[in-house]
């Protein structure tokens, strides 16, 4: 299934009727967290199946904890594979973070120390996960509010992971914006320094400034203009990939989300469509 250049939305349960009805919101795919659906039956399984009949499903995991000092949870990864197979998921992504430590899940994204040994550790684990899942793993640059035990910069860390593992990058443009603000760097320069040829997926979302010096990546409000601008800048420099609108809290009217999808579509089309035409005539 080719989802390149498609614009999708993060599937929340309360969107189900609107997605099935399809009159107020028109995503080209939906993304979901497999953790919220594995081993689920009953009414939600039925609804998920109906959504999956109508839209391609991409998956974005929460509990893989690729950067954890703990061993990988092979039982979980096997269940994950069965789920990805069942729904014929063409793209599985996760976070470049850790969410489990000392055998305890934290159900959130903790920042990995930017260090070479962490890179080596993660590269090894990416290969194991890809082998078991029999599909590539796409890893996301996460928002972080403090570094922990860093010995290199974030951009060096991400580049090392991608280069040494050969994995694809899920580029969350809003996260770049949030991190550039919180850690005082230039977002455009950061984008320029990323391995853009390895980008396999993109995320866009809203955030909230809670202090003059701190933005939290909430996924709870609309995307702001500077993030759209950064998206435009990024799309001009990448190949066509699927793009997701993430909205997890304060879910607005579907028509409002649809307007955001349309704006993302218009921006991505202005670059990617042109490129396809250029290639076609070359």
């Amino acid at each position: 299934m080719n989802t390149q250049g498609m614009i999708g939305v993060g599937y929340r349960r309360k969107m189900t009727n609107a997605l099935l009805d399809g009159s107020d919101i028109h995503p080209e795919f939906v993304e979901l967290a497999p953790e919220n659906w594995i081993d689920v039956g009953g009414t939600w399984k039925q609804r998920l199946n109906r959504v999956a009949d109508k839209y391609p499903i991409l998956c974005h995991g929460l509990s893989l904890s690729i950067g954890s000092p703990d061993p990988l949870d092979m039982d979980f990864i096997k269940k994950l594979k069965a789920f990805l197979d069942e729904y014929q998921v063409p793209l599985y992504s996760e976070h470049l973070s850790y969410s489990k430590c000392d055998n305890a899940h934290l159900y959130d994204l903790l920042p990995i120390p930017f260090r070479q040994d962490a890179v080596d550790h993660i590269v090894e684990r990416i290969k194991i996960v890809q082998d078991v899942l029999e599909r590539p793993l796409v890893l996301e640059n996460v928002s972080y509010y403090t570094p922990v035990a860093a010995e290199m910069t974030e951009i060096e860390f991400i580049n090392a992971i991608v280069k040494e593992s050969g994995c694809q990058l899920l580029l969350d443009v809003n996260n770049v914006y949030v991190n550039s603000f919180n850690h005082s760097y230039d977002a455009h320069e950061f984008i320029d320094s990323l391995p853009l040829e390895s980008v396999g997926y993109m995320h866009m979302a809203g955030h909230r400034k809670i202090r003059p010096d701190l933005i939290i990546d909430t996924h709870g409000s609309e995307i702001i203009d500077p993030v759209y601008d950064l998206f435009d800048y990024t799309v001009a420099r990448t190949n066509p990939v699927p793009v997701l609108l993430e909205r997890d809290f304060n879910i607005p009217e579907m028509a409002e989300l649809d307007r955001e999808l349309s704006r993302l579509k218009a921006i991505s089309k202005s670059h990617w469509h042109k490129e396809t035409v250029d290639h076609g005539t070359a």
Binding site: T43, Y107, P111, I112, D117, Y145, V148, A149
Partner: protein, 249 residues
Amino acid sequence: MALRESTAKAQSSFADYCRTGETSGIEGAREDRISQYRRLVFSVVQNALNTAYPIVQKKYMSKEDWESLQHRFFSNHPCSDPQIWRMPSELIEYVEQQESELCSKYPALLDLLRFEWQETYLFMMPDLELPHHSNHCPSLSDKVVLEQEMQLLPLKYPVHNTHPSKLKEAQAGQYISMAWRDREKRHVHFMGISVFFALVLENLNTSDITLLEAGKKVALQFGITTDHWKEELDKFVAKLHQKHLIFKA
């Protein structure tokens, strides 16, 4: 493992801080920022627990006691489920093993937690196939097929039919809450049943015997010498059949 000890230690102390809110220092972390992580992590956990246990949270325990229980649970208990929707079930085991003082203050707490979790679990659990069966109502001489999406929950307090505000005066005893997910709308339903019937159902579930044989076994166990139970069992089976929970095999 490629990871250096100091890296693992920094990760561990950061995670530990997120779980407990207490720290004796995290290498290279900004002190003015780490509290955001504790806030975000703990609110995810609180949300999951509040969603799973609305009655315990809003109608049974004081706000203070509930919140401090959530805090102790997340600090002391390593949550083992990678899927957060199932994590709240771990609170039950934690309370049972480590919160005896709280259980004396709130005697029906464990029952109420189990009762609320039963509803969530039955609503969400994987689909179980109904074995091949006839649609007839079984008579006592028949072997039966039971709805598989059905659970019995033994209770010490009648949390299944008592308003939470009245639970303080409730009598301890032996109660059974039967819950099932219907095949049509996939809703969860409850019904209080007697211990006698619960044991009959359990026998039917574990051995290949007729209703009469199961009834006799339980009557013997209870030291019942009259035959009155047969009529009662017959009525109970008719009621279950009406609800599509039992069929002639």
